[in-house]
Amino acid sequence: MENIAWGLQMTVLGMGLVFALLALLWLLLTLILKLDKEPEVEVSAQEATIEAERIAAIADDAVGAQTPERPTVNGMPADLVAAILVATHKHRKTMRRQAAPLVRIAWPGSQIFASRWLATGRARQNNNWQPRGK
């Protein structure tokens, strides 16, 4: 019971001291910032977050706040390699789709992926260029 009373005293005194010290620090910092005479400027949340991310990235290197080393592929960050791979794959698919009429991935005469030449021919067949009534 004696120990508990001591613990309660410690809690009140300890937290009181911590708060008092940090409140004093707050006061001093406010005074120093007043000396700076720098105006407060409204910034967007995104801008502030980018700055915060920059600070956090530096602190990530601190021992005890360690984030594991990022995996690499031939010296390049693995996520960058993955992004390049996805972009390349997507680009390849796009190119294939665009090039399809030229390289005839569809059977000649197919309705899909008709080449410009074929499409023009079909259009000509559908449109009668003879003057009407003749």
Binding site: G7, G14, V18, L25, E38, P39, A52, T67
Partner: protein, 375 residues
């Protein structure tokens, strides 16, 4: 001829295996697993695991009176040098800008230390001595070097479990913190958007900050001088910009070497006969409780600030008033974005988190001062 004595000598290692050493070797494997497979604080948990394994092998010469691990312990843990050297590196890598832009958040850091003292009370209820209770409570600082420093002075026999608990819980911030925040806040509170205002912090202010903190804390709580002194020395070197080589060395080469030595030395204290006690389990549970109580106190204090300011403070940032920088701030940001994807709290949370770093060191010094130790 191979006689009985020779066979005895050959089997000395096998005969020296005890159930305690086998359990500890198992624990070292768990630490390896956490470090390698789960990426939980690998820089510390891997050397601690290695130290634990090496110390628990039968008749390990490494923990003999002149063994390497014993020498490392005496060199840097017994005299508290290693945690202080690590603090220089942490100071050199920490930007207190978010705190300087919003100095009022320093109070959130203070609130985040409440768990230390509540856990101390609980430890006393469980029958720990006053020194042991204070050492267990300091896990609530969620600050590895502070925990090692304080417990090394007050209860060196409990250094192993306290260090493992402190660093494990630091890495478990993303798992432990969210439930506490969700439990104590409403959906509306979590969705509060906080306005940003930025001001240019002059180089003079950035240089004055560490000097003022050292002078203020060192004068009022002399027991905190080693901790705050080294943290702010690192920050002064960084902000002055005139000793770039020293700043880089402190945050890279020195910090890396010391981390390895510290991990091995701490691991070597985890010898089965001392570690496998019911008290170790209590330490781990109480440490977890201390962390939870810290977050809860921070959130509740932020709710009070929110009420005072008329709804301008999101209570989530109160949970960042601990020392795990910048992970705690990132977790707060994630929680906020789960409610409202366009809510950006990171900078405010970083301010509270930087305050938590200073506050945890101050709390460590206050605990030492109240215990009358560490001078």
């Amino acid at each position: 001829m191979i006689d009985q004595e020779t066979i005895g000598l050959l089997l000395k290692g096998v005969n020296g295996v005890t159930w305690q050493s086998l359990v500890m070797i198992g624990i070292s494997f768990v630490l390896f697993y956490l470090a390698i497979a789960k990426d939980y604080e690998p820089l510390l948990l891997l050397p601690i695991g290695a130290g634990c394994l090496l110390a628990n092998l039968p008749l390990s010469p490494l923990v003999a009176s002149d063994g390497m691990l014993k020498v490392l312990y005496d060199m840097g843990v017994g005299n508290e040098m290693f945690p202080l050297l690590i603090f220089i590196g942490i100071g050199a890598l920490t930007d207190f800008g978010p705190l300087l832009e919003n100095p009022k958040f320093v109070l959130l850091g203070a609130a985040g230390q409440f768990g230390i003292f509540l856990t101390l009370l609980l430890a006393l209820l469980l029958g720990f001595t006053t020194n042991e209770a204070a050492s267990i409570g300091i896990i609530g600082a969620i600050d590895g070097p502070t925990s090692i420093y304080v417990s090394g002075i007050l209860a060196p026999h409990m250094l192993g479990p306290i260090t493992v608990a402190a660093y494990s819980y630091m890495s478990l911030v993303p798992i432990i913190m969210p439930p506490v925040v969700y439990f104590l806040t409403t959906k509306q509170e979590r969705a509060i958007r906080m306005p940003y205002s930025s001001r240019k912090i002059s180089r003079r202010t950035r240089i004055l900050f560490p000097i003022i903190v050292i002078a203020l804390v060192g004068t009022l709580v002399p027991f905190a001088t080693p901790l705050i002194g080294m943290l702010m020395l690192g920050n002064l070197m960084k902000e002055s910009g005139v000793v770039e080589r020293l700043t880089k060395a402190s945050s890279n080469e020195i910090a890396n070497a010391v981390t390895l030595f510290l991990g091995l030395a701490i691991g070597s204290t985890m010898v089965g006969t001392d570690f496998l006690k019911p008290s170790t389990l209590f330490i781990l549970v109480l440490g977890l409780l201390a962390f939870g109580l810290d977050c809860a106190a921070g959130v509740l204090f932020a709710k009070v600030l929110n009420w005072i300011t008329g709804g301008k403070v999101n209570p989530i940032i109160g949970a960042a008033g601990i020392s795990a920088f910048p992970m705690a701030a990132r977790v707060c940001q994630r929680i906020a974005q789960e409610e409202d994807f366009e809510n950006f709290l990171l900078m405010h949370a970083m301010g509270a988190n930087a305050a938590g770093q200073v506050a945890s060191v101050v709390a460590g010094g206050v605990v030492l001062a109240l215990m009358g130790a560490g001078g």
